[in-house]
Structure formats: structure tokens, C-alpha cells
């Protein structure tokens, strides 16, 4: 059985130019970059909305935008950042990296992959287009709780809210297509010899995240269908005036949307686990338990959703149960954090841009995790429910951890993706601005929330002004921080130094092929013989490559 059939594939492919990225390409590497660039456009849009809001909040009075516009801005900011930035950006990284990391030539279903990507721009066009509707876009926040989301002030069938629901449904279909593809690819297409405990942690994390999509997303779809019917067909599901029950929507929504946080966070944990060993020159501490802890998080994520509903008339026994399960999430995430600390402990740290982003991401994740445990405790949650404390907590996850992690990944794999090196100076400038901006922007939200400032209002009591000014300045700095990033990425892609196959001396199948990799990735399918994090050891990763 040692003879595997090797079919060297040498088709003539047209060279990859910028035009390739506007075609229905089925190459997972093209699709990965399509996802990443599209997602970054969404990050810019969502960021502009955020900066308009921070502009409004720099003074206590409601003076910059109309209140309805403010409602639309925070609704669209949340929706676009989740369904436009984090999901597609991580789908892009997973698309690019998973087949390379497992030694496959492409995803299991390349055409399904391309179709799933091209739904993302449709979602964006629908959401942005809803600004042109007579009643404006959806204004009920990214969670669209009824009865607020059922008000439909314009009385049109095609309202901002119904367009929002259709956009979320399309995004859901795209995610399910992606999840089926990732799970099939990871289970069935790993290179010979790549047993579960020779598979990179990033692949484990993507697998765990996609499992959540498969069992969680259908619940949101069910709730969204019922809400859309209430809104357009006059049914009674969530409308208390007709005998319906709005709390049921919250269950449907959070059964998916809390685990959705782990869909976003798990691949980022995977990124940290990949990067820290490379820049610390040490094996990943506790590789097996770090890998398995991702699956533990997936399993627990199905049992915690009611902690978003402690203040929704939830009975006492339910609060107790979900408080306990929420605390349990700290175990597998704690395992990861300790493993990361042990990995960098005593290592020869190389503080390149990816490492700076990864380390700061870990630090801010610890902070967000601590406030997360606080929020999981019923008494504190009820006190700070619906305040800026919650907003500060999840921005430390979604910017401090997830977005920093995505930046780390982009810098780390930029040489592989483009065949060019990025500028280290601009990268470090980006890091410094982003790190200061994040903390200036989101740290003040914690004292504001503890003092009782409510989220989602455009005017506030004057005593909250000081921290709001600081937060707004941080927000603008965060906006500015993307400028050196754009300059760096565009400039380096056009005329950066040529990158070697493995500029970081990293261990992994993706570093055994040229930069950028050839169209079918591997001329010869690698035969994996050792664990992926053998830094400081001298055993080869494969028996036939590199």
C-alpha cells in the first residue's frame, strides 16, 4: 500500500492577475482572497458607521445625526461587522489555509465554494441598498428583537427590516454551504499519514467552528423565517398583540448567535496557536489538549444561550443552569490561554508584526474573558444588562481578539498568499495605532457601563461625557490605524520584496510549497510523518517533501 497514485497535474493555467479575483474561480486560494478583500471592504463600511456614532457620542446631546439614523447606524454596524467582516474574513483564511495545511489540492466541493462566496456581496448590496428605501434600513439592532422589529413604520412590504431578514437568510445559506464543504474536506481529504493528532490546531479550530454552524445556524434560520412571516404575512408567532410570544424569538436567535461568537473566536484561537510557536521557536505547549479544547467549546456552546436572556423574565432555575454552563466555558478557553503562555514562556521571541498582533490579541482576550465571566454571573449581569459594560466586553472580543487575530494571520500568511514580503515598519506602525486605539476606544466603556450608561442611545447624561470623549478619540485613532495597513498591503503586493517559500522558518505543509503556491498546491501529495509543531526538534514533517 505504499504506492500512492500520484498524478502530477500540469494544466496550462492563465496567470493570476487582479482580473482573476472578479471571476467565478473555483480555486480555493482565489476564493480565500476574494473573501478577505470583500470582508475588508465591509470592515471599512462598518468602521465608518462606528465613527459617525462615536462622532455623535462625543457630546451628550443628540446633535450630529437624527435618532432614526443613529438607530440604523448601530443596527448596520453590528450586522455588517458580524456577517460582513468577521465571518467572511475567517471563511477566507480557512478557505486559503485548510486545503494547504491538510495537503489537499482544493476543497471537496470547489463550485459550491465559489457559489457560497458570491452570496456575500449579495448580502452586502442588500444591506447597503436598504439605505435607499423610503423607511430607511432596519433599526432594531443586530438582534432584531420583536416587537421592536415588527413595528415597520413605513408600512411597506419591502421594509428595511424585511430586507435585513432576507440578507441574513442568504448569509446563512452561504455559511451552511461553507460548513458542509469544510467538514467534508477536513474529514475526508487529509493527506496520507495526517491522523487527527498530526493535524494543525487551526484545522481543528475551523472544524469545531463549522460544526457549530451546522447545528446552530438552522435555529436562527427558523426564527428569521417566522419573524419575516410576522412582518410580511401577518402571522402571530412573535407578536404579543396577536397572542404570540416574543421571548421565543430570543431563544431561536441566541441558540445560534451565542455559539456564533465561537464560530468567530475558535479560528482566531487557532491562529494564535499557529503563530505563537513560530515566533517563540518552541513547540505548541499541550498540542493535543489545545486541539481537543476547541471541540469542547463547540459542545458547551450549545448549552449557554440563555445567559443573553437573564433579564428577559427568565425563571430562576433556568438562570442558575445557564450561569453554571457559562462558567464551564472558562475551562477549555483557560486551557488554551495557559497553553499559549507556556508556549511563549522562555522562548526566543521574535517580535515581528504578526507576533505583536497575536500577543496583544491573547492579552485582550484574557481581559474580555474576565469580563465575560463577570457577565455570566446573574447578579452582575442584571446590574449591567444593556449597558456599555456589555458593549465594552464584546468589543474586546470582536476587535481586541478577533480583528487583531485576523490582522496577525494576514501579516503572517501575506508572503505565502502574494509571494511578496510586507513592510515591517508600516506593519509595526499599524500595530501601535491599532493597539492604542482599541484600548482607548473600548476600555472607557467598562466604567461607563458600571455607572449605568445604556447602549443604543444617541444622547446621555453630561456626567458620562469624559469617558465618551476618550472613547471617541480612540475610535477615530482606530479608523486611522487602517491607513498604514492598506498602504502596506497594496504597496507590498505590487512591489514588495520577493518572498521565499518559508520566510518564517515555520513548520507546516503550506510552507513546503512555493510562495504563492501553484494552482493545484502540491505536485506530489505529501505523506505526513510527524506532529506539526516540532520546533527545536530535527524530525521532518513529511517523508517525501521539503
Amino acid at each position: 500500500m505504499t504506492n500512492i497514485v500520484i498524478e502530477p497535474i500540469h494544466h496550462e493555467h492563465p496567470p493570476t492577475t487582479w482580473r482573476t479575483y472578479f471571476t467565478f474561480s473555483t480555486d480555493h486560494k482565489v476564493i480565500g482572497i476574494q473573501y478577505l478583500v470583500t470582508a475588508f471592504v465591509f470592515l471599512m463600511l462598518g468602521g465608518i458607521f462606528a465613527m459617525i456614532m462615536r462622532g455623535e457620542l462625543i457630546t451628550p446631546e443628540s446633535d450630529l445625526v437624527d435618532r432614526n439614523v443613529y438607530n440604523a447606524l448601530f443596527t448596520m454596524h453590528g450586522t455588517i461587522m458580524l456577517f460582513g467582516w468577521t465571518f467572511p474574513a475567517l471563511a477566507g483564511l480557512a478557505n486559503y489555509l485548510v486545503p494547504l495545511m491538510i495537503g489537499a489540492r482544493d476543497m471537496a466541493f470547489p463550485r459550491l465554494n465559489a457559489a457560497a462566496f458570491w452570496m456575500v456581496p449579495v448580502v452586502g448590496i442588500l444591506l447597503m441598498g436598504s439605505f435607499l428605501l423610503p423607511g430607511g434600513p432596519a433599526q432594531a439592532g443586530w438582534w432584531s428583537y420583536p416587537p421592536v422589529s415588527l413595528q415597520n413604520p413605513s408600512h411597506e412590504l419591502i421594509s428595511g427590516q424585511s430586507v435585513w431578514l432576507v440578507a441574513v437568510a442568504i448569509s446563512g445559506v452561504s455559511s451552511i454551504m461553507g460548513a458542509v464543504n469544510f467538514v467534508t474536506t477536513i474529514i475526508r481529504m487529509r493527506a496520507p499519514g495526517m491522523t487527527p493528532f498530526k493535524t494543525p490546531v487551526f484545522v481543528w479550530a475551523v472544524f469545531s467552528a463549522q460544526i457549530i454552524q451546522l447545528f446552530g445556524l438552522p435555529a436562527l434560520t427558523a426564527g428569521a423565517v417566522m419573524l419575516l412571516l410576522d412582518l410580511t404575512a401577518g402571522t402571530a408567532f412573535f407578536d404579543p398583540a396577536k397572542g404570540g410570544n416574543p421571548i421565543f424569538y430570543q431563544h431561536f436567535f441566541w441558540f445560534y448567535s451565542h455559539p456564533a461568537v465561537y464560530v468567530i473566536a475558535l479560528p482566531v484561537f487557532g491562529i494564535f496557536s499557529e503563530l505563537l510557536p513560530v515566533y517563540a521557536r518552541k513547540p505548541l505547549f499541550g498540542y493535543r489538549i489545545v486541539a481537543v479544547s476547541s471541540l469542547m467549546i463547540s459542545a458547551l456552546s450549545a448549552l449557554v444561550w440563555v445567559h443573553h436572556m437573564f433579564a428577559s423574565g427568565t425563571p430562576g432555575w433556568m438562570r442558575m443552569f445557564f450561569m453554571a454552563t457559562t462558567m464551564c466555558v472558562a475551562v477549555p478557553t483557560g486551557i488554551k490561554v495557559f497553553a499559549w503562555v507556556a508556549t511563549v514562556w522562555g522562548g526566543k521571541l521574535r517580535l515581528d508584526t504578526p507576533m505583536l498582533f497575536a500577543l496583544s490579541g491573547v492579552v485582550m482576550f484574557v481581559f474580555a474573558g474576565i469580563t465575560g465571566i463577570m457577565l455570566g454571573a446573574v447578579p452582575i449581569d442584571i446590574h449591567v444588562n444593556n449597558t456599555y459594560f456589555v458593549v465594552g466586553h464584546f468589543h474586546y472580543i470582536l476587535y481586541g481578539t478577533v480583528t487583531m487575530g485576523i490582522y496577525a494571520a494576514i501579516y503572517h500568511w501575506f508572503p505565502k498568499m502574494t509571494g511578496r514580503m510586507y513592510s515591517e515598519g508600516l506593519g509595526k506602525l499599524h500595530f501601535v495605532l491599532a493597539f492604542i486605539g482599541t484600548n482607548l476606544n473600548f476600555l472607557p466603556m467598562h466604567p461607563l457601563g458600571l455607572q449605568g450608561m445604556l447602549r443604543r442611545v444617541s444622547s446621555y447624561a453630561p456626567e458620562y461625557a469624559f469617558w465618551n470623549v476618550i472613547a471617541s478619540l480612540g475610535g477615530f485613532l482606530l479608523g486611522m490605524s487602517t491607513l498604514p495597513f492598506i498602504l502596506n498591503i497594496v504597496g507590498s503586493w505590487v512591489q514588495g520584496n520577493k518572498a521565499p517559500a518559508n520566510p518564517w522558518r515555520a513548520i507546516g505543509l503550506e510552507w513546503l510549497v512555493s510562495s504563492p503556491p501553484p494552482v493545484e498546491n502540491f505536485d506530489e501529495i505529501p505523506i505526513v510523518i510527524s506532529e506539526p509543531y516540532g520546533y527545536g526538534k530535527s524530525e521532518p514533517l513529511t517523508s517525501n517533501l521539503g
Binding site: V180, P192, L214, M226, A236
Partner: protein, 196 residues
Amino acid sequence: MDTSLNPPHTTEATHDEAGNSMFGFIVFLISESVIFLSFFAGYIGYKLMTPNWLPPGVEGLEVRDPAINTVILVSSSFVIYIAERYLHSKNLWGFRFFLLATILMGTYFLYGQAVEWQSLKFGFTSGVFGGTFYLLTGFHGLHVFTGVFLQTTMLLRSFIPGNYDSGEFGVEATGLFWHFVDVIWIILFVLIYVWQ
């Protein structure tokens, strides 16, 4: 023969596209079943917690005709299995006959559902009861329609010479989908018609 370095199943799986498709389809069906589970959970919650469950003037649901419908739909699962066996033994006419029988049984189910909807005294907007009834039966009916559509496609494809020589993924997936639709219906029938 060093299997530890080179597990044979992994090597084969890399090139087994039909196997990938079936695996992916099963993953999809598992995910699809969660939508139904969500609707079922919603239905149970509503039924237990809504004070006036039946709309005014509605006594309950007639069980006899839906029960006949149930028997026909569940039987059709065995009929499509026979069709698959015939295809497997390369008997194309046997395959076509039993697939056509499945299509007719599925179509009769949809017809029976339409007749039942016509006779009911409540609509989609008649409270949570009407909403959940039409949502569940309608969403399931959509799946029955999709199944019949897939079966018709497979029937027509059998007339393309040599179409099923290289593999029967389409027919296997259609059969599996049909069993899925049947199982969902049994749960739905118990929840809506038996538990009144």
C-alpha cells in the same frame, strides 16, 4: 506494507469524489433536520404555553385523511428502496417502474395535503395555532415537493444511455432525502395530529 505511514482509507478518500458528495449530503441533511427540530421545539413550547391554543370556532384537526396520507408517504419509502435495488442490479425498467410509483405516491400526498388545507376553517394568520400548523405542514410539503422533483429528474436521467454506469450518487441521495422527509413527517404527524 507500512500502513502506519500511509493509512489506505485516507489515500482512497482523497480521490473518491462520489464518496465526498454522499458524505457532504449527509452532513447537509443533519443540518437541515435542525431547522425542523427548531420548528418542533417552537411548536411544543407554543402548545404548552399559549392560553387559548385553538382559535374560536375550531374544535381540532380531522385525523382520518392525514392518517391515510401518512401510510402512503411512509410506504413510498419502501417503494423507492426497491427502485434503488433494481438500479443496483442494472434492471432499468424495474427501477423506472418503482421510481414512478414513488413519484405518484408523493404526488398523492401533496394532493391530499392540498385538499385538507382547502377544508380547514382557519388560516395562516389565525393565531399561533394557525401559524405553526401551516408553517410546519407547508415547510414539510416543500420538502416533499423537492423530493418528487428530484425523483422525476432521476427518472428522466435514466433514459440517457449509460447515465448510471459510473455511479448512482444522485439516486442514492434522492432516496436518502426521501427517507428523511418520511421520518420528519412521522414526528410531525404525532405532534400535530395525535397530540391534540
